[in-house]
């Protein structure tokens, strides 16, 4: 690998990294939306939290999760710009708990493998 093209390496790293991150957006949303938030602000929050999601992925995702009953939405028209606020439903909370458990188990498994490989 040392002499292979640097561009190829980063390109493939990006692809692998994206593959690994796929699916984390749902969990991050469900956890983050335990306090209500609207689309663009959630995008910013996720990005600050280190889970950058593209708008064209996040906006349809929010509606999909809502139609699956995992999120609840409400229009807020108090401000000059009406915004649709989403928050996690009880079903969404339950799913988040399951996914979080999966996530921790995965991390433990990977850690174990990583340690074994070293020793």
């Amino acid at each position: 690998m040392t002499h292979s093209n640097v561009w190829d390496v980063t390109e493939s790293e990006n692809a692998q990294s994206q593959e690994l991150r796929r699916g984390t957006a749902v969990l991050a949303c469900l956890l983050m939306l335990r306090s209500p938030q609207y689309g663009y602000a959630l995008l910013e929050q996720l990005s600050e939290a280190g889970i950058p999601v593209e708008g064209n992925t996040l906006y349809p995702l929010l509606r999909r999760l809502e139609s699956q009953g995992l999120l609840i939405s409400e229009w807020n028209t108090d401000e000059s710009r009406p915004r649709k606020f989403y928050r996690t439903s009880p079903n969404g909370d339950a799913l988040a708990a399951v996914l979080l458990e999966d996530w921790r188990n995965l991390q433990a498994s990977i850690d174990t493998i990583s340690r074994k490989a070293k020793s």
Binding site: N56, W75, P82, K84
Partner: protein, 334 residues
């Protein structure tokens, strides 16, 4: 949308997303999408960007409206997805392999019976078979696209271990064999026409002297062409089936006996060759019914027939017993 002012890029972008979405969802998605776009533009403007530049940057970041609309509608961004793709390719191959040769054969027979000229025969067959192929591909694809859109999420034919391919052996019919058979058949049919129209020798009036007896034309030439086509079909089926079976063996023996048998019979009754052609180089006595050439040709043809039949019988027997000649990995052999 308010239309008192000329539409902005955002207006056009939002319309680009909405127009392919169901009417009932449009209002809600529009309000939300506009708010999201406006929020993103505001954030950029607060960082000192020019509002027009900010709008462009935000819309470019959101990307192709049709893609976003597909996201909202939950539509796949592929004609045929991974769940159905294998079924699709398999069915398409199967249909093409069965229908195209059958159509070709049917057309050739039908047109020959009508008595069409060779050029027209080939031309009309090629165009019709091409059209049949395009139709097959189109309609099969359409059916699968509809299945994909109507939410078929699992393969149509569940994977079954009995469908696993058998390992290739020395007896496994190879593509090269099929190609050789097809080329040989084309060459033979071509040669029959060629020797009739442009022979090496011309008679006193400048007409070509054909190698084959002119009496073969009304009946025997179509028979031989038909046998050639059947031989190619047999090779295709053999290749697709992937091993020798009893029906394939019977077919092969019938074809060999019919082809070589009729050649031998025509030779010994003096109906196959044109004596005038061989007279050009004074060989007429050799190819006469009691000539040494005829005897040699009969012997040669008989040996070829017996050898081909024995070979097919042995391969079928090995295939039926599940024996194989030494397993060969799929490396090119020749």
């Amino acid at each position: 949308m308010t239309t008192s002012q000329p539409p902005t890029l955002t207006d056009r972008y939002v319309w680009g997303v909405l127009r392919s979405l169901p009417e009932s969802q449009r209002a809600d998605i529009e309000k939300e999408l506009r708010a999201s776009i406006a929020d993103a533009i505001d954030a950029r403007v607060e960082n000192g960007e020019d509002p027009a530049d900010a709008e462009r940057a935000v819309l470019l970041e959101l990307g192709e409206p049709a893609r976003l609309a597909a996201g909202y509608a939950g539509r796949p961004l592929a004609l045929i997805g991974p769940a159905l793709y294998v079924d699709y390719v398999r069915l398409l191959k199967l249909l093409l392999v069965i229908v195209l040769p059958s159509a070709t054969l049917g057309l050739l027979i039908a047109k020959s019976v009508e008595g069409v000229e060779l050029g027209d025969l080939i031309g009309s067959t090629v165009t019709t078979v091409l059209a049949v192929g395009v139709h097959l591909c189109f309609w099969t694809t359409l059916v699968f696209v509809i299945l994909e859109r109507t939410g078929t999420k699992s393969p149509l034919t569940p994977f079954d271990l009995t469908n696993l391919p058998t390992l290739p052996t020395a007896d496994t019919p190879k593509l090269s064999g099929l190609v050789m058979t097809a080329i040989w058949a084309l060459f033979t049919v071509g040669a029959i026409f060629w020797q009739q129209m442009f022979s090496v020798f011309d008679d006193a009036e400048g007409n070509p002297i054909p190698v084959l007896d002119a009496g073969l034309w009304p009946v025997w030439v179509p028979v031989f062409i038909g046998l050639a086509v059947l031989t190619v079909l047999h090779a295709i089926v053999l290749f697709r089936v992937g091993r020798w079976t009893v029906p394939l063996l019977v077919g092969a023996i019938l074809l060999i006996v019919a082809t070589i048998g009729s050649m031998i019979w025509l030779l010994v009754t003096g109906q196959l060759l044109n004596p005038a052609y061989f007279a050009e180089f004074e060989w007429e006595h050799i190819v006469a019914t009691d000539g040494i050439g005829t005897a040699g040709a009969v012997l040669g043809l008989t040996i070829v027939a017996i050898w081909s039949i024995v070979d097919a019988v042995l391969k079928t027997r090995r295939s039926l017993r599940g024996e194989s000649a030494p397993t060969m990995l799929p490396f090119p052999v020749i």
